[in-house]
Amino acid sequence: MTERLLVDVRDLRVSFPVGIGTAGTGTVTAVDGLSFGLRAGESLALVGESGSGKSTAAFALLGMHRGTGAEVSGTVRVAGTDLATATDAELRRLRGNRIAMVFQDPLSALDPYWSVGAQIAEVHRVHTGASRRASRARAVEVLDRVGIPDAARRAGAHPHEFSGGMRQRALIAMALACEPEVLVADEPTTALDVTVQAQILDLLHDLRQQTGMALLLVTHDLGVVAGATDRVMVMQDGRAVEHGSVQSVLRAPERPYTRALIEAVPRLEARRSAPPVSEEVLLRVEDLHRHFPAPRAAASAAASLSGPGQAPGSGEPSGEAEETGAPAGRPAAPSGGLGRLLGRRPRHRAVDGVTLEVRRGETLGIVGESGSGKTTLGRMMVRLTEPTSGRILLDGRDIAAAGERELRPVRRDLQMVFQDPVSSLNPRRSIGDSIAEPLLAGGTGGAAARSEVQGLLERVGLPAAWYDRYPHEFSGGQRQRVGIARALAVRPRLIVCDEPVSALDVSTQAQVVQLLGELQQEFGLALVFIAHDLAVVRQVSDRVAVMRRGRVVEQGDADTVYDSPQHPYTRRLLAAVPVLDPDEAAVRRRARAALRALDRSEGGEEAQAVA
């Protein structure tokens, strides 16, 4: 009978104690009466915003709340074992063996001190009692299975020598080591680029088809659900608000909350309803370069990768090539002998000859994967980073090599909003003081600055009374609003936004993007919007530049680039963007598989050409 439920969750409740000591004890209920089941080969997505309890529920499937002080009630049965009554030893035999988990951040989820292969082998050995040699062999086998090129050798590498995508593959390999019946994936692609995200989701899909294991996918992004699972459960405040097949939920959502979530997913087709943009150039960069000393580990990894007849990353599916562990796309001036001994390292060309312009009041989108140089380019545009060579013309005046004193009057015009609103705000200053700082430095009086900052706070959608609050009291989206208010304070003409929404939930993303659009209109701002998410970029941009390995491979009007991409790399990026329609998702998955097959043969040719 295959109808047996592999995972059977009934009326699950998880609550955490909070405020021990000072504020008296209370509890927060993270999961509140959740029930679902999974059979062999089935897949279910748990979707919801941060704090909806989806991860807490997923962790309960492995009994991970045991011993943490969390209160768990209801029943959770996995492969016939009731987790509430199982002994610690029984629980251990289940974990990683019959039900395995893939975590969100693959770098921190792997032990930095152990080689990847050894970590996988350990899990296999613990559960099967196999010999060391057999477990090593098994590790290589599963690494190969998840698409790690040259798995036998790469098994000996440490996690930091892997790229983000490869780490996630390694973690999936670890999950596969004991052929579990259930795979739980907690936001497995949130930290990854679109192309890598597509590869990982495709991999999970293929594995499920081939091994017949059940998949529970936890995500905040409804966009990834369509192509990845059969059923979806939408969670809000610890409860399931909607549950059904992916087709029915995505096409005909019943609940307004689900509808709002779907609305919030940025769409590739969504055009920007753009007002006429002036042709006047505000900032122009010409043949801009920035070189860094290549990190030693990366340099040697690149050297060892490009063994006989193999270009770096050629065995790797496309897109991930940039970050196979070596950001050094093209190490310039390789040195040996004495130069090496004296510490001369190969240089990594982060930005390698970029020419583009930003016009008054327009939004220029810059897209590209991790390591493509888009952040370095953005930092140079506001002169936080000094270019190695090239020109940066603001109103026709070159500021590329200007000293700090010369730059001071320019700093007002050029501002930046950073990706991580947590680390870019001083935790020991109230947000009002953080925003007021540039005003005070500019000579505005204390009282005037305060009232101006309060006005700004209201403008970005925060209560003026929050002036005296500290960053930790804010949610991610609110912190990003603070970051925007700080950039606005000096009335700049250009703001470079570096991945301003990539750390936020989809619904929060939409609000921040909307705010940026409004502010742009109101203040006549020029925006440079840097992101790896192509759909978001299309929503906000008048023109788009696509970056790859430090170069702009394609630029033009957003509509032109998106509707008729010229460069194959742009086409590949666009093909990787998740879509909300399940049938379309399946079509795209097949298209990607074909493209990858093509790449592999092309990659071989390229390698030969290099050799």
Binding site: L94, R95, F103, S108, D111, V126, R340
Partner: protein
């Protein structure tokens, strides 16, 4: 690796060079004429001038320093016309108060500090790290509170108190051990060890506390890391998670602390030496400062600095061996 060693050696030499200049300037510029002290009582002007000339203190300071550097490389003759005192290379100076080359004075005392430091190190590592790991694992329990109390007591007790108490207890009341007196290892290893047990213990007990605290906090930090959760989520036993994964991460920072301590103690554990009456570098330094025996002061200071720089270089290598993410550069 080779490159690292080369660069490190060069930077070590530079550090020592700068340090020697500073120490030289500092001590030779202090009031008090070494010549008067070397000459002894009832020394007249003429005799004093001869002694000054022999010591070289009649020359400008930079020339004195230059002679000192020359002596290091090529040896040096202190020439007073009639009697010549030779100091073979590497000459760290010559103590005219004791009539010995400084290097010989240092090397004869070095074994005391090496024995003292390395033996104590073993004890404080075992005690300190053990305590730290245990209190991290038993967090919030009675064991931890007890260990924290002991650690605090150890940290705040001066070594002379612990040393004297230990001697009172073990040597005079119980009579288990002899009153410590340094016996060279080569003469009688058993006597060497039994005489060193108490100094080791007192030195280790005051040092172990810092290790316990550091190990505890870094262990707690490591246990909260995501990869520990991964280990648990993949069915590894708690023992495996701790010994196989947490311990290595938790102990890496200890290397740095160890380098500073061992480097410092090799250059003289003054208090411990004094309590137990050992003639080590620490006491040599104190004595020569008291007697304004400047060449000895400069020599010991340089040696102490050398040990600290050396220990830190060793720590860097160990750190890179322990943590695969760290590259030597």
């Amino acid at each position: 690796m080779l490159r690292f060693l080369l660069r490190r050696s060069v930077s070590t030499l530079l550090v020592l060079l700068v340090l020697s200049a500073v120490v030289f300037l500092l001590f030779y510029a202090t009031p008090g004429d070494p010549a008067i002290l070397a000459c002894g009582k009832g020394c007249d002007g003429e005799r004093l001038a001869v002694v000054r000339h022999k010591l070289g203190t009649d020359l400008p300071l930079w020339q004195q320093y230059w002679h000192f550097l020359q002596g290091l490389v090529a040896g040096r003759d202190y020439d007073a016309g009639t009697d010549v005192t030779h100091c073979a290379a590497p000459c760290f100076g010559y103590s005219f108060q004791t009539d010995q080359p400084v290097l010989g004075m240092i090397t004869s005392r070095l074994p005391v500090d090496v024995s003292l430091t390395l033996g104590a190190m073993v004890i404080w590592l075992v005690v300190g790290v053990g305590t730290g790991v245990l209190s991290a694992l038993r967090r919030g329990g009675i064991t931890e509170r007890l260990l924290t109390g002991l650690t605090l007591a150890g940290m705040s007790t001066p070594v002379f108190l612990i040393g004297l108490l230990l001697m009172m207890l073990c040597c005079s009341w119980l009579g288990w051990l002899p009153f410590p007196q340094y016996v060279p290892f080569g003469d009688d290893p058993a006597a060497w060890a039994s005489n060193l047990v108490l100094p080791w213990l007192s030195l280790a007990l005051i040092t172990a506390a810092a290790y316990a605290r550091m190990t505890r906090s870094s262990m707690l930090e490591t246990l909260a890391e995501d990869h520990i959760r991964t280990g648990r989520a993949y069915g590894l036993s708690e023992r495996r998670v701790v010994t196989g994964h947490a311990l290595r991460g938790a102990l890496t920072p200890v290397i740095t602390l160890l380098a500073i301590d061992v480097g410092g103690m090799l250059g003289g554990a003054t208090l411990t030496e004094s309590v137990f009456g050992f003639d080590g570098l620490g006491r040599l330094l104190v004595d020569s400062v008291n007697h304004i025996d400047l060449p000895v002061v400069v020599g010991v200071t340089l040696f102490a600095a050398f040990f600290i720089v050396l220990a830190n270089a060793v720590a860097d290598v160990l750190y890179a061996v322990a943590d695969p993410r760290v590259a030597l550069a």
